[in-house]
Every structure is written in structure tokens, then in C-alpha cells.
């Protein structure tokens, strides 16, 4: 009977799917904590390139501030801000944001902004851009990402905060203008957010869940 054979196939498929799901769930349980710890360690290590020329005390991670979505920063999930202090005085803020309009999925960026509004560095945390083309946004693969250092909303002016192909100031990566455009836009939007909320960012208590005044 055709019917019973379909039933048998369905049951076999369902059983194997259940076993496979259990296997993945088990591995996830086993590795979850280590992966989170690794990512935290990687984040702390990668804060450095986004803070070039900034002197600060330790404890950057403890100053973490979560900005719940929706917010004016790039990305649709919660954004994270690390406040960097030297003694009591704020010196910079680090934003973990996502550029969602890249070529393949979200590009997770760490954007460092000095208290005076200058970019202290941009670092790519994760991305799925094309290997060999878009992946040159990584600092290890090219110097492209360094061109933001020292820039601010006044330099260049806001209509020049674009890639050269769109009539702006910034170089695009050959063969990866979609990626380049997404990163430039995310950095610009982060600067605009910082400019509009500077006081709120530094005065909010560390991760109390309270929102930064928009």
C-alpha cells in the first residue's frame, strides 16, 4: 500500500530528525558556556584596536550598558555600549552595533568614539561577507577599516559621510561597495547617536536596564 509506505517514511524521518535535534541540543548545552566565555575574551581583546590613542583604566566590561531595541543605533537587536573612563572622567564610549544592510547578513561592529566625538577606531567583530572581497573590512586583511580613525561628524561633513562612489569622502573596497557602504553608514549613525546622547550615555548607571535618553 502506497499509504502505509508514506507513513513509514514519515515516521522514520521524524525519528531521525528527533535524534539529530537531540544531538545538536546536547552539544549546544555542552559548549554554550565556553563559547560565551570565548566571545567575551575575544571582545575584551578586540576593544583595543577601537581605542587607539585613548588612555583608560581597566574595568571596561563592567561599565556595560545595554540599550534595548528599538533605538537609533544601527541594528535591530539590543545595542551594547561600554563606557571608558580615566579616573572619574569619561574618555570614550564603545558601541557594539550591527550593520544590517551588508552583502550577507549582519556585520557586527565595535565603534569607538572619543568624548569629543572623534572616532577612536572601528573593529569588525563578526561578519559573513564574501571571502576575498568584503572580508577585507577585517583589520587583519586590509587597512580599510582604519580610515575612520580621527574622523568625526564635522570631518567630513554629513553629506560627505559616504563612499567615494556615492560622492563621499571614504574609499570603498573594490568589488565590495555594498559592504563598504553598510559599514560607513553604521559608523556615521553611531556618531550621530553619540552626538545626540553624549550626556545620557555617560550618566546612565551600568547595566541597570535603564534607557539612555533619546
Amino acid at each position: 500500500m502506497a499509504n502505509s509506505s508514506i507513513m513509514r517514511s514519515g515516521v522514520t524521518l521524524a525519528a531521525i530528525a528527533a535524534v539529530c535535534t537531540a544531538l545538536v541540543a546536547f552539544t549546544y548545552q555542552l559548549t554554550d558556556e565556553r563559547i560565551a566565555a570565548n566571545e567575551q575574551a575575544w571582545l575584551e581583546q578586540s576593544l583595543q584596536p577601537a581605542l587607539s590613542g585613548v588612555f583608560f583604566d581597566s574595568g571596561v566590561i563592567e561599565s556595560m550598558l545595554t540599550v534595548p531595541a528599538p533605538h537609533a543605533l544601527p541594528g535591530s537587536e539590543d545595542a551594547i555600549i561600554y563606557r571608558v573612563y580615566s579616573g572619574e572622567a569619561p574618555v570614550a564610549a564603545l558601541f557594539v552595533v550591527s550593520a544590517r544592510d551588508g552583502y550577507a547578513g549582519a556585520i557586527r561592529l565595535l565603534v569607538g568614539v572619543g568624548v569629543d566625538g572623534d572616532v577612536t577606531g572601528v573593529h569588525v567583530l563578526a561578519h559573513r561577507e564574501t571571502p576575498g572581497l568584503g572580508d577585507r573590512i577585517e583589520s587583519g586583511k586590509s587597512d580599510w577599516i582604519r580610515q575612520f580613525d580621527g574622523r568625526s561628524l564635522a570631518d567630513p561633513t554629513s553629506d560627505e559621510w559616504k563612499i567615494k562612489r556615492d560622492g563621499g569622502e571614504f574609499d570603498q573596497l573594490t568589488g565590495a561597495s555594498v559592504t563598504s557602504r553598510a559599514v560607513v553608514k553604521a559608523v556615521r549613525n553611531t556618531l550621530q547617536y553619540f552626538d545626540a546622547n553624549t550626556d545620557g550615555i555617560f550618566s546612565a548607571p551600568a547595566d541597570s536596564g535603564s534607557e539612555v535618553e533619546e
Partner: protein
Amino acid sequence: MTTPPIVDRFKTGLWYENPGLVQLLGLCPLLAVTSTFVNGLGLGIATLSVLVVSNALVSATRRFLQREIRIPIYVLIIASLVTCTELVFKAWFPALDRSLGIFIPLIVTNCAIVARAEVFASRNPIGSSIVDGLVMGTGFALLLMAIGLFRELVAMGWLLAILPPGAFFSLALAIAAKNVIDRRRQDKQANAQLRRPRQLGRLKG
């Protein structure tokens, strides 16, 4: 001269039916990640472990699988194993995971794995299938490492080797080298066969 079957199996996987050199399977990861020796080693080990376990699982389930649903089952098994491998790499080899990036999840698309499941594991007992996964995976991993090492060394003098076209040139060279070696061996054997009767004749005479 008899060689134990396990040695023959390794010769087959590493040389005569090397998945990369002869079957030309799994070229996408082979060409993409072999820019360094360490990357080749990392992806080689990841592929090898997925291949061994997938062969074992496919072989273990082969008796109660209906023919018409076998492909979706292979895909399910392989995709789950690759996800587990990715999690393990993220947890224990984070640096390697970052440098291999998307190519660990992309092991799913390595047709060498589906090919071994279909051609070998679905028709052979579990022990034999594990050995098959081991030898084929080792053959693939060694090729990845060899090309990675070659490109890394050559790139010191010739930058193109590290760029994507370099991968094609390196693979072509590797296949050419294998064919030259095979040809020489064949010639030698043929010569030996030609000579033997003549020598016998002389002895008799």
C-alpha cells in the same frame, strides 16, 4: 606479495581515489581555505571527523531506511554533525574557528561526504564504513594541508599563490603531479612485462 586490506584501503583513499585529486569532490572548501597550512589542517580535521561519524551513522541506519527518503536522511545527519562540529570548534578552537569562518558550516555542502554516504556507507557494515570515512577523510585532509603549505611557501616569492587564482593553479599542479607519477609507474610495469618473456626465452635457449 599480499598486503593487508587496511593498507590497501589507505592507498585507495590517499592516492588512487583521493576525494580531492581523483574524484574532484569538495573543491569549494579545498580552494577557498587552503591559503595557509593551519587553515588546511583545521578544515581537514573538521571534515575528517564529520565524514567518519556520518559514515558510521548512515551505515548503522542503513537497514531500516527506505530508498526514497535516504537523501533527506543523509542531509539531516550531515547537517547536525556539522553544526555540532562548528559548536565544538567555537568552544575549544576559537582562533581556528575565526580564521575558517563560514567554511566550517559549509562542510555541509562538501559533496565528498554525501558521496561516501551514498556510495559506501549505505551498503557496507559499520566497521568498514568507519575505516572508509577515515581513509577518505585523511586523503582529503592531507591534500588540504599539502596545498595550504605549498601556497604559503610560494606566496613568499609570488603573491598570486595566496590569492584565489593561486588555489586553482596549486590544485592543477597537484593533479598533474599525481598523473605524471601514475604514468611513470604504468610505463615501468609495462616495460617489466615486456622484458620478462624475452629473458625467459633466453634462459631456455
